[in-house]
């Protein structure tokens, strides 16, 4: 019972860090460059989800006022949402740059396998 309670309290954090760890695992283990970039993108999504869930307030709605008065207390924190807006844009920029570098690497080496690209072996 205690365990279920814990799960239901922290389900968003668990989901967010689940995504983060899936991303890190892909980056560490996979050898295809495209898969590594996909892992980077998943990691980014996980961090965004974590920031949003930190700002959540129980039974809160979006911080947008309308003509129907819904009350100040039932609004979620707007600051993490603004931060995540920034983070999503930066994520798109990073993804585009990484993909263009992958295109260059493919043209130069003829492969996307990191094992075969000699300078990239670890």
């Amino acid at each position: 019972m205690n365990f279920m309670n814990f799960i239901s309290n922290y389900i968003y954090y668990i989901g967010a860090f689940g995504l983060v760890f899936i991303g890190i695992y892909i980056i560490l283990v996979k050898r295809n460059l495209i898969k590594v970039i996909i892992g980077l993108s998943i990691l980014d999504t996980g961090v965004n989800l974590f920031l949003i869930s930190v700002g959540y307030i129980s039974k809160g709605t979006a911080p947008i006022f309308s003509k129907i008065d819904i009350g100040i207390t039932s609004m979620v924190d707007p600051v993490p949402q603004a931060l995540v807006l920034t983070a999503i844009v930066i994520g798109v920029a990073v993804l585009a740059l990484a993909l263009s570098l992958a295109i260059r690497l493919y043209h130069h080496y003829g492969t996307l396998n990191l094992r075969k690209i000699k300078e990239q072996r670890w």
Binding site: N9, S58, D77, A82, T86, V89, V92, V94, S100, H107
Partner: protein
């Protein structure tokens, strides 16, 4: 072997993070600054959407930096791909009538929807970045649907530069006119919930929408050209 080491490292990191996160209560009100923005945001900025007033007004300078990051990434993509040896032009088979007609029908509608999203950014969910992404998706549709058509690189560069200039000039006017900081809201706030309200926020968001749209469309153009 590498897999096992990675899993062990991840397990250790996960344990550390779990011990930190367990002290952050989920669903409780935490920051004072968020409550301050929600209480005072309507009077101070005139925008109904508090996230917009945080992004454009309270933290407008950060948004300028964010737009700059996207700009640098667009320059980086074109620089990295510019020196690539051009392949021999493949003969592109033109799209079928159904596909090209549908794409020409949808293109203005998607542009219109994107414009709606960034013009109403201070009243409803949305804003410059989201609207710009929707506009860029319209250009992606033309690349996928009407093969062979390309956007003019010169025009997209001009749009991008002009909208960036509008952002900075509006901020500097605010600095000169009355405030003591960049992006001071010098225009009248107007009536809450009306389209012409919130001072400079709609102007800035329209500029951001054009800038983001042309930048992402330029990135898509570069990536499609090389593939």
């Amino acid at each position: 072997m590498r897999r096992i080491i990675s899993i062990i490292i991840l397990a250790i990191v996960a344990l550390g993070i779990a011990l930190c996160v367990i002290n952050i209560p989920f669903g409780a009100s935490k920051t004072k600054v968020g409550n301050y923005y929600i209480e005072k945001g309507r009077e101070q900025t005139g925008a109904a959407n508090i996230v917009t007033s945080v992004v454009v007004n309270y933290r407008g300078f950060d948004t300028l930096g964010e737009v700059t990051v996207l700009f640098v990434a667009a320059i980086g993509v074109s620089t990295v791909l510019a020196t690539l040896k051009k392949k021999t032009k493949k003969e592109v088979e033109p799209a079928s009538l159904v596909l090209s007609t549908g794409c020409r029908f949808l293109f203005p509608l998607i542009l219109f929807f994107g414009a709606y999203i960034f013009i109403y950014g201070h009243l409803s969910p949305g804003g410059g970045f989201q609207g710009g992404a929707v506009i860029a998706s319209a250009f992606l549709l033309t690349y996928l649907g009407c093969r062979g058509k390309r956007i003019s690189e010169k025009r997209s560069k001009i749009t991008e530069s002009l909208s960036g200039l509008v952002f900075i000039v509006v901020g500097l006017i605010g600095l000169a006119v009355g405030g003591h900081y960049f992006l001071y809201n010098f225009l009248p706030k107007g009536v809450l919930f009306s389209l012409f309200s919130a001072g400079i926020i709609p102007l800035i968001y329209i500029a951001i929408g054009f800038k983001v749209g042309s930048e992402i469309a330029g990135i898509i153009d570069k990536l499609v050209e090389e593939s």
